[in-house]
């Protein structure tokens, strides 16, 4: 299994010998960067970082919205033996102070030694240095242009390759630390015979953000590790005109592209009939769907709408995975129409078993297949014991893709990785040996393929003038077959008019996370109980809300 174990440095060096590279698409056109050029740019970065005094094992935070800048900085830091960490860039510049508070908390908790960012954002980060004692230096990306000399750091397989901070969590930021071994094993499994069976003719096309596991590992490192071309367009270009994704596949003869369920749905709803003519999706042999629940209806509607453009339903590859497991955990066999099961909603809720219904309401789940080679999946009951087929429990994963841990957070790591088993927080069952994901244990909110921690949303609005400190609860209302509805319950302190406070809460969450809050409920004093556990507080308040017993003011 470890026959082809490679560090990021090795993979980059191998790719640099091929003639492939990245195509970066933007409004202004396209830029091709061969992997050899990427390596040269990475060496410049590596040399500059070392010359600025950074030492092996130091954490370097990258806040870089442009794909080219970000990837070359990530490879540069990693090949220099430093630990790059991706942090999300601000969604807007209008409310930078709260963004910087959030980011400073991450920099502090991770002992970041340096920030690499755009020259526009550099002064703002310079200003947070006084709150971050370990932060030695803030560097603008364009200044990292030292002569390209091959780094002599030679990272070892078990060194941390990079850390991924999904959404910031203020009290205990969760940065997923992955080793070179983690990456190599997972990416090779994705590209291998039990995964996509990547071939010399493959071309990957992606609009996924690079601070997301599926965007970075799946769609940017995946092609690089197999020395195949990767076409990367911006997320904004996709959400503005979803057809641009399909046009890129058409133009580059794209064969591999992954996206969350919502993206397929967006194409069904928004690609206009007059645009279908110019599309040719016949080259698309792996249409991966993951990062959020996969809906059979969405896939069927997509396949029907784009059949005339050459799309085949057998290209769909519904997958399960998470950042704590690099990216991928399970795949079904390729070249198969997605397998779905319709089960009784009542039995699922009352008895926690997934069986066909004899009448009554049903729920449909899509198979995400089987564990990667040398990896294991287990469904665990409340007592931790393995459950038989069709019984619903927490999905546990074991194998060489399980993360090193949450960076500098041993207690949080021990919480989710026990005896080698990663506790995913997702609920599922196994049927005929295949995994069906059917819910969540944790209170994570998933919208458009992105995970949000309720404590981050709560923290973000807790300091608004009209809110009683500590009396804010955020949660997602999960409805089968639909996106989570985001709810915030807050107790007002009477200093802001009601409507203004609701607006301010929505605005703050939108500015910081780009997330729309479906319902802001201002509740009577005493609704949100003060407990030491946010989880207890959330569960109790959510129960009131869902029963309709919440007394609003």
């Amino acid at each position: 299994m470890t026959a082809n174990l490679r560090t990021l440095t090795d993979a980059l060096a191998e790719a640099a010998r091929a003639d492939a590279g990245y195509f970066f698409l933007s409004a202004g056109g396209e830029t091709f960067r061969s992997y050899a050029e990427v390596q040269t740019a990475a060496w410049r970065v590596a040399r500059s970082l070392v010359e600025s005094g950074l030492r092996r094992g130091d954490l370097v935070a990258l806040v870089l919205p442009e794909a080219d800048d970000f990837l070359t900085a990530l490879f540069g830091a990693s090949t220099a033996g430093l630990i790059p960490a991706s942090l999300h860039a601000p969604a807007t510049t209008s409310d930078l102070s709260r963004y910087l508070d959030l980011t400073a908390a991450i920099l502090r908790a991770s002992d970041a030694k340096a920030v690499v960012t755009t020259s526009a954002l550099a002064p703002a980060f310079e200003a947070v240095r006084r709150d971050c004692p370990s932060l030695e230096i803030v560097l603008a990306r364009e200044t990292l242009d030292a002569p390209p000399i091959e780094p002599d750091a030679h990272p070892a397989p078990d060194d941390i390759a990079f850390v991924q901070f999904t959404s910031g969590s203020t009290s205990a930021p969760k940065g997923v630390a992955l080793s070179h071994r983690n990456l190599s094993v997972n990416v090779d499994a994705i590209n291998g015979p039990a995964g996509l069976m990547t071939r010399w003719s493959d071309v990957a096309v992606s609009w996924l953000p690079l601070n997301h596991d599926m965007g970075l590992v799946g769609m940017a490192l995946g092609p690089l590790y197999s020395a195949r071309p990767g076409v990367l367009m911006s997320t904004q270009a996709f959400v503005k005109r979803p057809v641009e994704w399909l046009r890129a596949i058409t133009r580059f003869r794209g064969s591999i592209s992954f996206a969350p369920n919502f993206a397929y749905d967006l194409c069904v709803r928004r690609v206009k009939d007059r645009d279908l003519d110019g599309l040719d999706l016949s080259s698309w042999r792996v249409a991966g769907c993951g990062a959020e629940p996969v809906h059979a209806d969405t896939l069927a509607a997509f396949a029907e709408k784009f059949a005339s453009a050459g799309f085949r339903a057998t290209s769909f590859l519904p997958s399960y995975g998470l950042a704590e497991h690099v990216v991928a955990a399970t795949f079904p066999p390729r070249e198969r129409v997605p397998r779905s099961e319709r089960v009784s909603a009542a039995l699922l809720t009352d008895e926690r078993v997934a069986r066909p219904a004899n009448g009554g309401a049903t729920l449909t789940f899509v198979s995400c297949g089987v564990a990667l080679p040398d990896h294991r999946v287990r469904i665990a009951g409340d007592d931790g014991g393995a459950l038989p087929e069709r019984h619903v429990g927490e999905i546990l994963l074991a194998g060489p893709s399980v993360m090193v841990g949450y960076y500098k957070q041993p207690a949080l790591t021990d919480d989710v990785v026990r005896d080698g088993w990663l506790h995913t927080g997702d609920l599922g069952y196994v049927s005929n040996g295949e995994l069906f994901v059917c819910g969540r244990v944790k209170d994570i909110i998933i919208v458009n393929g992105r995970k949000y921690h309720p404590q981050d949303l709560e923290w973000a609005v807790d300091d608004l003038p009209g809110v009683r400190r500590g009396r804010v609860v955020a949660f997602g209302v999960v409805e089968h077959g639909r996106a989570d509805r985001v709810v915030i319950v807050a107790e007002p302190n009477g200093t802001s008019p009601r409507d203004e406070l609701v607006d301010a809460i929505r605005r703050r969450i939108s500015d910081l996370f780009g997330l729309y809050v479906d319902d802001v409920a201002l509740a009577r004093g005493g609704t949100v109980e003060r407990t030491t556990s946010g989880k207890v507080q959330r569960t109790a308040t959510r129960a009131l809300y869902e029963r309709g017993d919440l007394i609003k003011v």
Partner: protein, 87 residues
């Protein structure tokens, strides 16, 4: 307040907003897209694409974060339409 010349533009913008929203809304010039009309970020981007098609303009994406109210959108669209006809 918009100039008289932008009245048809305001009507067009409001029409686009109604089409993009999947619930019954009655936007006014003072409406805030997120707080009042309940637009999520996907709908904001959909609005941009629809406005570009309807008015035959190109809206730079870096304008987006600063645009919050219907009046601001109308103003921006009116200026882009004017630039196009002057070009």
């Amino acid at each position: 307040m918009p100039s008289p010349a932008s009245v048809p533009i305001a009507e067009g913008v409001i029409d686009v907003l109604k089409n993009v929203s999947r619930r019954p809304i009655e936007p006014t010039l003072a409406s805030d897209l997120v707080a009042d009309l309940g637009f999520d970020s996907l709908q904001v981007f959909e609005t941009i694409a629809e406005l570009e098609d309807r008015f035959d303009i190109s809206i730079p994406l870096n304008d987006v974060p600063a645009t919050r109210t219907v009046a601001q959108i109308v103003d921006r669209v009116a200026r882009l339409v004017e630039e196009r006809s002057n070009a």
